[in-house]
Symmetry: C2
Subunit: 276 residues, 2 copies
């Protein structure tokens, strides 16, 4: 390999994005999650570096924070029974979803579409997979705060950022992908308005959902079943850390959301008219 | 490091997911894209390995296949003028979107929500960023066929798979993420029904959108502006290649889509009633 080629390859290698799985023991309510992550990283023969982003499964955060509910302890309301019958769901689970959801927008057999903390999600984040038998897990009360706490506690190791990763479904697509439920230390989105494309033309309204992209990358490894990878080190993202400003949020208001324009206006009928 | 630790670290390293950017020169209509990718990989000091997945930006495929339209050549219809006025869009661009879209479902200033080839997307995949000035790019006519062709042509290098990556927006989220517009050589989704979680409980209806997750991982590096990374080698995904069966599709029919349940039934009002 000649010098120029080697240099190029070296530069290339520096830009490789690495997703490194971190395995760890079962997390229980009350576990110090940051210490568990620290130990997991060490036991996996790894160490943190400046610029690393730790992606943590939201279920891990929920479990450690005791945000799990024993289904047997729940008394369903009349509405939970009604919706349970309508959507073929266990009324106790519906009851938990109704308590967690800010709004229910729709549903299919066994699942409800809900709005929770400004995020559209299935069952308001309530889930019974990878939770102890007989329990449902809820989203952390304050995901941003949880992300901040993990980052702060691990900041003695390196200047890191944190993404809390949940699963989501998207319109007309089969299969779950990753969602950046919260971030700390990085900007969840990159504002590209005013930057230029490869032809030098300015971009007018493009934002890049960098945290959601990285959450999906980590979610690929975390999986949905018994992969046993509840945390992933994202290395080489080349984001300046810390980047997050207080007023930044990846949440869109409904009036700026393309999909809500269709949900709100029931625009399918309108569009069908326009199409006809 | 003791032997056990070293073994663990070795096993760990084997499971690292690597996203390796591939830079290449500008692609023009008529360029042999597979050869351009082959050359780009070589010029970046890289080579393909069995199990690698090549993520290719859909715009690259479109441009090579001549799926770009000179805006000046387009004569808008009356409907394009009407919708252009309604959504503050250039009527020529609206005209191209109307020709490409199977259905228009909604809109916001400067963008339409459309259904195209069973995929919900902004402006039916029509885009003016990273296209030559004065041109709009369209989706490839047959993205699955394009993915198959790239895979076949590069199969003399190694047993690889291909994902064609586009950008998409998702409900109530700011910023674009990746979409697996087409795949070849891997299954776009992983059916986890019947597999078990970490507590041994069976999963009843979970599918993992593995190709969309990986498309987002690649999209993180590809970006939206002048990053100049139109292809990414995904290494370490550990998918058996080839996996894709003919009847597999990541597309959901509207009656199985949680979001469409809200769009179709205008369920927000219903749900508001239920909530009240």
């Amino acid at each position: 390999m000649d010098t120029a080629r080697r240099e190029k390859a070296g530069k290339q290698a520096a830009r490789i994005l690495r997703l490194i799985p971190v395995c760890m023991g079962l997390i229980k309510p009350g576990t110090d999650l940051s210490e568990a992550i620290r130990l997991g990283i060490k036991n996996n023969g790894l160490s943190l570096r400046d610029g690393d982003i730790i992606a943590v499964a939201s279920k891990l955060v929920s479990t450690a924070e005791g945000r799990i509910v024993r289904l047997g302890d729940v008394t369903p309301s009349r509405r939970a029974y009604e919706m349970g019958a309508l959507y073929k769901m266990e009324p106790r689970l519906v009851e938990i979803v109704l308590r967690e959801a800010d709004q229910v927008l729709g549903g299919l057999p066994e699942v409800l579409l809900t709005l929770k903390n400004g995020i559209l999600t299935a069952n308001a984040g309530v889930d019974v997979s990878n939770t102890p038998p007989g329990f449902a897990s809820l989203w952390p009360v304050n995901p941003d705060g949880s992300a901040d706490e993990i980052r702060e506690k691990l900041s003695d190791e390196a200047d890191i950022a944190v993404i809390i990763v949940d699963s989501r479904v998207t319109p007309l697509r089969l299969g779950t992908i990753g969602l950046a439920l919260a971030t700390s230390g990085i900007s969840p989105t990159l504002d590209l308005r005013g930057s230029t494309d490869i032809y030098g033309k300015p971009l007018r309204y493009t934002w890049h959902g960098v945290a959601d992209d990285l959450a999906s990358a980590a979610h690929y490894l975390m999986g949905e079943a018994d992969e046993g990878i509840p945390a992933v080190i994202v290395r080489g993202a080349n984001m300046r850390i810390p980047l997050k400003l207080n007023d930044e949020s990846p949440k869109l208001s409904p009036d700026k959301c393309l999909y809500m324009s269709a949900i709100r206006n029931n625009a399918m009928d309108t569009a069908a008219g326009l199409n006809g």
